[in-house]
C-alpha cells in the first residue's frame, strides 16, 4: 500500500512570506496531483505532473516533481490570506485510476 507523507502537517506564516510544503511517497508516483481544500468545501485540483523533474507554475505557486518521481514540492511566493487551506497531494493509480491522498498540510496565512 502506497503511503504519501506530507510535511509540515501545519504551517502558519505571515502574509507576504514564502513557503514550501512537501510530499513524499513510499513508491514511485504514477501521476501526481496537488489539490487545495478550503474549509467546508471539497478539494480543488491545482495541477497534475507526470514527468520526473517537471516544474509547473500557477501564478505564485510553483510545483516541482522529483527526478525519481517519489517526491514533490509546492512553493508559494508572497503568500496571501486567500492561500489558506488544506493542501493535499495525490497519486493516481496507473491501473485503476483511483486517487490516493496524502496526509495534508494545513496552511494558515496571517494578514
Amino acid at each position: 500500500t502506497q503511503l504519501l507523507e506530507q510535511s509540515p502537517q501545519f504551517l502558519s506564516i505571515q502574509e507576504g512570506e514564502n513557503l514550501t510544503v512537501y510530499c513524499n511517497s513510499s513508491s514511485v508516483f504514477s501521476s501526481l496531483q496537488w489539490y487545495r481544500q478550503e474549509p467546508g468545501e471539497g478539494p480543488v485540483l491545482l495541477v497534475t505532473v507526470v514527468t520526473g523533474g517537471e516544474v509547473k507554475k500557477l501564478k505564485r505557486l510553483t510545483f516541482q516533481f522529483g527526478d525519481a518521481r517519489k517526491d514533490s514540492s509546492l512553493h508559494i511566493t508572497a503568500a496571501q490570506p486567500g492561500d489558506t487551506g488544506l493542501y493535499l497531494c495525490a497519486d493516481i493509480n496507473f491501473g485503476n485510476e483511483k486517487l490516493t491522498f496524502g496526509t495534508g498540510t494545513r496552511l494558515t496565512i496571517i494578514p
Binding site: G40, E41, G42, L45, T48, L86, E97, L99, F101, T103
Partner: protein, 113 residues
C-alpha cells in the same frame, strides 16, 4: 459554478436512522467516487463506480452502500446510522485517464447523535 452537487450540506440525525446522501453530476463522467474525511484529515476512498451498474468498495471499510442506476447519480446510504459514522462525506467524479483530476462536490457533514 458547481458541476457536481451534494445534498444535504449538513445533517444531524439520531442513532439508528436510515439516511441517504445524494450526489449528482452534470458532466457525463462515467467514474464517480465517495470519500470520507474527518476534519482537517486526509481523504479515504470508501466506494467507487466506473459506470452504470458498477460499484466497488474502496480502501477504507465502510458500513455504507452505494448504487449507480444512472450515470449522473451516485447516492450513498447508511441503513442504521451510528455516532462512529460522524464525518464529512465527499463525492467526486472524473473522466478516464491519469491526467484528469477529480471534480469534488462541497460535501455532506454528517453528525450522528
Amino acid at each position: 459554478e458547481a458541476d457536481i452537487y451534494q445534498t444535504p450540506r449538513y445533517l444531524v440525525i439520531g442513532t439508528g436512522k436510515k439516511i441517504t446522501l445524494e450526489c449528482s453530476q452534470t458532466m457525463g463522467h462515467d467514474k464517480m467516487y465517495w470519500y470520507q474525511q474527518d476534519p482537517g484529515m486526509e481523504l479515504h476512498l470508501i466506494h467507487y463506480s466506473y459506470g452504470v451498474n458498477s460499484t466497488e468498495k474502496g480502501d477504507l471499510s465502510s458500513e455504507s452502500t452505494v448504487s449507480r442506476i444512472r450515470t449522473e447519480h451516485f447516492p450513498l446510504t447508511l441503513e442504521s446510522a451510528r455516532p462512529s459514522h460522524t464525518s464529512q462525506y465527499l463525492c467526486a467524479s472524473s473522466e478516464h485517464g491519469r491526467n484528469y483530476g477529480y471534480t469534488f462536490g462541497s460535501g455532506t457533514r454528517l453528525t450522528v447523535v
